[in-house]
Amino acid sequence: MGILDKFDAVRGAYNEARSNGRDPFSVRFDVIKSATEGEIGGRSVTLMGTNNYLGLTFDGACVEQAVQALRENGTGTTGSRIANGSYGLHVKLEAELARFYGRKHAMTFTTGYQANLGIIGTLAGRDDDLLIDADSHASIYDACKLSGARVTRFRHNSAKDLARRLKHLEGNPGNRIVVVEGIYSMHGDTAPLKELVAVAKEAGAYIIVDEAHSLGVLGKKGRGLAEAAGVEDDVDFIVGTFSKSLGAIGGFCVSNIENFDVLRVACRPYMFTASLPTSIVASTIEALRQVEKGGHLRERLMRNSRRLYEGLALAGFTMGPEITPVVPVKVDDAETAITFWNGLLQEGLYCNLVLSTATPDGKPLLRCSVSAAHSEQQIDEAIATFTKVGQALNAIPKPAMAAAE
C-alpha cells in the first residue's frame, strides 16, 4: 500500500475537476493589474473571488509604507519574535490593533490560520470543552485537533442548539469555549451574535469570534460583526486576518483578558514560526487606518454586493441566505459547477469554484467576493456573464422559455 493511497478518492475528484478544462485549483495569472483585474493567457480577467473587500492591495499609501519598511528593515525577520526579538513595527501594529478595537491586548501571527491554531489551540486544554459552529472554517477545525479539548459542533447559527449543548456540559470542571465567525466564508451569512453571546454568557462560557471576513466590512468603524451587533464588551477574544480587507497577510487576536501576555510563551503557532516581515506590518498599519476612516468604502462595498446579489437572483440563480460581500451561487452538481466555472473564466470572469467537502451543505458553489473597488460596470458585466453561461448550461431558464412559462 503506497503512502499516498489513502488519498485515492481525493485524487479521483481532483482529476475529474481538471479534466474539464483548466485546473480550478491552480489558476495561474500572468499578471495582477489592480484589485479587480488580472490577465490570463494575454486576456483580461475581472477578479471576483479574491476577498479583497476594500480593494486596498494597490493602495498608494499602503504600498509606500511597505516599500519604505522593506528598504529600512530588509526582506524578512528570519525568525520568531521569541527567538529573534520584535521590530518596532510589530509592537506598533499591536498597539494600533488594541487601540482600534478598544482593547487592552493584541497579538499578531504570521497568518490568520495560525492565529486560530494559536488562540483556540492554546486557550482550550484537555479538560475544556470547545463548542464550534458546524460551518466553521478549516482553521478552526484544525485548531480543535491541536487543542486536545473535547469538541462538539452546534447547528449552524443556532443559539438554541448551542444552549442545549451547553446545558449538557453543565457541571463539567473545565472551561467552555464557544467559537463563531462574523461572516461565514462560503455562504456569506452572518452569525446571530447577540443571541449566541447571550447564551454563552448565561452558561458562563467564553466566546471567540473570528472576524476574518467581517473586519473592514461590518460595523461603523469596520471592526466587524461584534461592533455591528453591539456586543463587543461580551466577546472575550476576537481573531482575524490581514489577508482580506487589509490586503496583506497575517493574523491577530485582541482581548481584554487578564494576563493575556502569557500566550506569547505558551502559544506554539506564535512561538515556533517566523514573524511577519516589516513591509507587511507597515502596509497593514496603514490599511487599518484606512479601514477606520473607510465608511465610504464600506458603503460602496455594500452597494456593490447588493447589486451583484440582486442581479444574480433576478437572473434566476439560487443565492446564499443574506446579502454580504461573499456572494455564492449554488449549483446542483459538481460537473455543472466545474463546466460553469470554466465557462466564466473563458468569458473573462474569475470567481471561486468550491466543491462539496468545503461547503456546509455539500452543494457546490461558484463563490464571488465583491470589492469596493469594483465598478458598477464590472458588477453588471459579471451578472451578464453568469447569465449567459448559466443559460447555456440550463442552470437557469433561457429567456424564451422563461417568457413562454
Partner: protein
Amino acid sequence: MPDADLDFIMGELRKVVKQPEDVRPEASVTRELGLDSLAVMNLIMVLEDEFDILIPMDKLADVDTVQDLATLTGSLKSQNEDECA
C-alpha cells in the same frame, strides 16, 4: 434498547448512502458506505438530537463500522443516565 438504536442509525445511513442495501452493522462507515467527513458529521448531529447526547469529535477516531457507532452512542447514553441518576 441497543437494537432499536442500531436500527435508527442504519435507517439514517440508508437515507444518505448511494446503495442502501450495503448498510449492515459490520459495514465500514467511510470505506464501504462511502460517507465523507461532512456526511459523517451531519449524521452525528442527527444522532446527538435523537439520543440527546453529545458525541465529542475525538470519540469518532475509534469508530469504523456501523456497529461501532451504535456502541458509542449506547455508552454515551448510559453515561448520561448515570449523571442524571
